[in-house]
């Protein structure tokens, strides 16, 4: 009983042969851990605090707040009451949801077909796919393809050019291949078709990897801004990250002459930081789910490849 509790609390614990750590070592480690945690957390906390602070306090303090003394949600009300930020949030959410669904579908189908033993064309196709790791398309040729396919200035230009991620594909295929072949054989005996097996065997057994890959896609769609910068002219159709880049960063020392005038450029720091928080929230929301599957899903696939 005692032993069990100790195990659950301390994991593996310290093995018998290992010497007890020197108190100095333990202290140094603890300090290092605290410093690392602070380095990650402080920038987020400053931005959140500033976004919640009273604008007058922030101005008086020189543009930032480490703790909001008169907390207010005014900045959030302002950005969400329509205008470019509200619209951009809707665009980002739409692209993320639709893009993730399409990417996941295309990746699952291709990964499943390529995971079946000795599938027709499997080897050459795998080489063709893996070659793209070695030689990713350049910015200019990629732009040209989007232009020639008539996708410029459409939301499709934010999805189609990044539909399948080769790393995700390889991870998923590796996971599918690790499923026991007997299951497929048994299903085959019962007269199941490939589609039935994909739907009834592969997908139910691959929830972890589907979750990880789906969240990877969602995060990358949500975070993407460069494709919108080169493919979409109209600021009214920009996703949130690009709006953030153009009107919020440009207001700081990263002045971008091409950004032009916009309400946000002269917006108070609290509003700017509220946009930053808004653009981060979805990541933080999905993060716990993502984290739970990291080890299970990603590593098993990644190590094999």
């Amino acid at each position: 009983m005692k032993l069990q509790r100790r195990d659950s609390r301390r994991g593996a614990g310290r093995p018998a042969w290992q010497e007890a750590p020197h108190p100095l070592t333990s202290t140094a480690k603890a300090v290092a851990i605290v410093v690392v945690l602070a380095l990650v957390a402080v920038p987020f906390l400053v931005v959140i605090s500033t976004s919640l602070a009273d604008p007058a306090d922030v101005v008086a303090n020189g543009g930032w707040a480490i703790w909001p003394e008169h907390p207010t949600l005014a900045a959030y009300k302002e950005i969400l009451s329509g205008g470019i930020v509200g619209r951009a949030t809707v665009v980002s959410l739409g692209v993320t949801v639709v893009g993730t669904a399409l990417s996941l579908a295309a990746t699952v189908l291709l990964a499943y077909a390529l995971s079946r033993p000795a599938v027709f064309g499997g080897k050459p196709i795998m080489l063709v796919v893996l070659f793209t790791f070695l030689f990713p398309p350049g910015i200019i040729p990629a732009y040209l393809v989007v232009k020639e396919t008539g996708l410029l200035n459409s939301y499709a230009a934010l999805i189609a050019p990044v539909l399948v991620n080769t790393f995700n594909l390889v991870v998923m295929r590796g996971f599918f291949q690790s499923l026991p072949a007997e299951l497929y054989e048994a299903a085959r005996m019962d007269g199941a078709s490939e589609l039935t097996m994909l739907w009834r065997i592969t997908i139910p057994l691959s929830r972890a990897v589907l979750a990880v890959v789906g969240l990877f896609y969602a995060v990358s769609y949500w975070n993407s801004w460069f494709n919108a910068l080169i493919y979409i002219d109209e600021p009214a159709r920009w996703p949130l990250q690009l709006v953030l880049r153009t009107y919020v960063l440009a207001g700081g020392q990263l002045a971008d002459p091409s950004a032009g005038e916009a309400g946000l450029l002269s917006a108070p720091q609290t509003v700017r930081m509220a946009v930053v928080v808004l653009a981060t929230i979805p990541i933080v929301l999905v993060y716990p789910f993502l984290q739970r599957f990291f080890v299970k899903g990603v590593l098993s696939g990644a190590i094999k490849s």
């Binding site: 690392v36 480490i66 295309a106 291709l110 027709f120």
Partner: protein, 332 residues
Amino acid sequence: MSVQTRAETAEPDAARPAGGAVGRPGPATPSRRARYQRWRRDRILVALMVPGLLYYAIFHYGALFGSVLAFLDYVPFLGLSGSRWIGLDNFQRLFGDADFWRATVNTLEIAVLQIVFFFPAPLALALLLHSLTHTRIKRFVQSVVYLPHFVSWVIVIALFQQVLGATGVLNGFLADGGLHTVHILGNPDAFKPMVVAQVIWKDTGWGTIIFLAALTQVDEQLYEAAALDGARPWRRFWHVTLPAIRPVIVLLLVLRLGEILSVGFEQILLQRDAVGARAAEVIDTFVYFHGIQDGDFGLAAAAGLFKGVVGVVLVYAANKISHRLGESGVYR
């Protein structure tokens, strides 16, 4: 990577008992017949591949084909087929362009700084995390340090501005303390170290994953034997841990060397205007500004193609070197 494809061939067709005819000894032209049988058996699977393959055909191989515009006097109105073939003129212009060499030197400087300062960081943090025996603390620290990887570069730059910028927290404290404020983010001289610092902040935690996985694979008995032979922690690290994770280190280094001409395009593009092109232009931003912004597609595509070819050569060379060192590298 080819390991997988090889493993695949090793698996006999019999693993797929579906088409009974597949394994059967064929008559006159067995291979052709077998291929036809496989095609008949796998039609549905091939149909499933279509969306993904279309994507690769259009956006990867179509783009690869589009790289020919590096050899054209490209006029958008005339298109690829109508533009005049000018051979290597674009490359001649490119290699005679001082800005391009400036960008290449900047790229290499940043890459070297990254390899020296960023590359070991995840290993160090992984060793620290691995040495924690308290599982819950370890999990918590891991959750925190992985997070920045999932935040976009736009947000990372915004965070850095708010902390280190002219009106940021650091300068606020310095001013309050009556000290000189420091000009970090808009300073061309500080730009390259700053870029590396940002990468360290964003991706050190995430980079620990692969090292932690390698560290847990180390045979516990080796440590025990070494300890019984009187090896102190440092010797155990040097003679057990390091040799055990060497393949992972070499693999990651090979991959990094292959990408030496890619140094965080988005990150640098976001900050280039703050410090000017002299300090901040890298090959990728050179391509973007000359191609998309100035419309000199031929020159920009030539620069992009140059970068791609150098990347392939470097992966090949680095892989060869890792084989010489007795490691398996990325592929065989």
